[in-house]
């Protein structure tokens, strides 16, 4: 068990999370339960299951999930496991026209998770048996919530409702949170596989300190002093810029803006981590979302999606501008790879002590460490 006493103190005195939080399988598993399963983690996107009956299996840290668009067009998430013999139900993304049929003995479930039929369960030609109570054998539903098209799940079922857990963020971004967003399509979607612990991607995203060094192209218009820290203790953290400039096409065209934004957003943009693993950036004319998929203690897949404020921005007329926007962000995110991978390698240095934060520049990162440590405390206290 790691010592977190130096983490949960003021940033001026704090150290970062110990190395084991990045290089130990044991701590990775501890964090899976206490940090990722016990909170609201991003696991997918609504845009991937747009139609009634669309279903997509997701392996989330070894937990088989099935994302489904039900008959009311709501996203639902089930454990992707048949209640009969534990067979995986759906192995490939597709559309379910009728029921979810287990490929083993053909137990059938509705899109609402209800067990519809149990063929031959009472013997050949007999679908009924007194001991097979269908109303007790529906699919196990995992708590889910869609925010900015991200499908969040709380595997443990113990977190506060999403709207409560993230009330401060929803309020902060009220001007965006209640508006529809439009995914840009295939040209607005990419993944990056990085050899790093998922938390290092969060930590790098949270702070602007690295921008002039890792993203030199930003120096021409987005200087370090144009950024500010975003901090809500034990809730979320990130950074903002005061000098966001809209992308211009060859003819000077720009993406349409979200309607009704206050003046603040003319030149501001914010980049916040929805703890634990979802990174969101909001701008007057587009939103990007990064869901970090932890694959192992030192391996993470970043799923990156770009959304726009108006449906026409997702159509052919904006294809070139969308491609330019995707290219611009992809460059930035690729520039970050060497640092998140480098910090992972650096944590093999056994004398690294978690690191010394800059109280002025690193507090959003420390805030994330403090939150992670806070999530681990109850389980550790219970184990004592």
């Amino acid at each position: 068990m790691t010592n977190l006493s130096d983490v949960r103190v003021d940033v001026a005195k704090a150290k970062g999370l110990p190395n084991a939080h990045y290089v130990s399988d044991t701590v990775f598993e501890e964090e899976r339960e206490a940090v990722l399963f016990a909170n609201w983690s991003g696991v997918g996107f609504g845009k991937d299951i747009p139609n009634e009956g669309d279903a997509m299996p997701v392996d989330f840290l070894g937990m088989p999930l099935l994302l489904v668009r039900d008959q009311d067009m709501q996203v639902r998430v089930y454990q992707n496991t048949c209640r009969h013999r534990g067979m995986i139900l759906v192995q490939e993304k597709g559309n379910i026209r009728g029921t979810i049929r287990c490929p083993y003995h053909s137990w059938c479930y509705g899109l609402n998770g209800q067990l519809r039929s149990t063929p031959h369960v009472g013997g050949p030609g007999q679908n009924l048996h007194d001991d097979i109570k269908r109303d007790e054998l529906g699919l196990i539903e995992i708590r889910s919530h869609v925010f900015m098209d991200v499908v969040f799940v709380n595997v443990s079922g113990t977190a506060a409702p999403f709207e409560e857990a993230h009330a401060e963020l929803i309020a902060r971004w009220a001007e965006f949170a209640d508006k529809p967003i439009y995914h840009g399509g295939a040209d607005s979607s990419f993944t990056l596989e990085v050899q790093t612990n998922w938390k290092l991607a969060v930590e790098n995203y949270c702070e602007s300190y690295h921008l002039p060094w890792v993203h030199p192209a930003l120096n021409s218009y987005s200087r370090l002093e144009d950024h500010y820290n975003v901090e809500e203790p034990l809730k979320f953290s990130g950074q903002g810029t005061l000098v966001y400039q809209q992308l211009n096409g060859e003819g000077g065209e720009t993406f349409p803006d979200f309607e009704g934004l206050s003046d603040k957003w003319d030149t501001s943009a914010e980049y916040i981590t929805v703890y634990p693993n979802t990174l969101i950036g909001v701008h007057r004319d587009h939103v990007f979302v990064i869901v970090l998929e932890p694959k192992a203690k030192d391996r993470t897949v970043e799923h990156i999606e770009l959304y726009y404020a108006a449906p026409e921005a997702a159509e052919d007329g904006f294809a070139d501008l969308r491609a330019a926007n995707t290219k611009q962000w992809k460059l930035v995110f690729e520039e970050d790879i060497f640092v998140v991978e480098g910090m992972q390698k650096g944590r093999m240095g056994r004398f690294f002590d978690g690191g010394k934060f800059s109280p002025a520049m690193d507090s959003p990162t420390h805030m994330f460490h403090d939150w992670v440590a806070a999530q681990l405390e109850p389980g550790r206290m219970a184990a004592e």
């Binding site: 026209r97 049929r101 053909s106 059938c108 050949p124 030609g125 007999q126 679908n127």
Partner: protein, 71 residues
């Protein structure tokens, strides 16, 4: 029921054809007075009707239900 026809329907993933073949066979067996065999095939027809979202699922279910074999 022609076995090769059924296997071809499986090969093609043609759930509607599978359902129809099983349904026809089930009804034929029932007509012959063989309820167990008839219901066996109707169960299969029902499963593929459900999976396909076919409107016939309700009719097949009714056939099974009136014989106490489906809810």
């Amino acid at each position: 029921m022609k076995n090769d026809e059924l296997l071809a329907a499986f090969d093609q993933g043609d759930r509607r054809k599978i359902m129809t073949l099983y349904w026809d066979q089930g009804l034929a067996k029932l007509a012959d007075g063989d309820e167990n065999a008839g219901c066996f095939y109707l169960v299969h027809a029902y499963v593929f009707a459900l999976e396909d979202g076919a409107p016939e699922a309700e009719d097949i279910r009714s056939e099974l239900k009136k014989r106490g074999r489906e809810a």
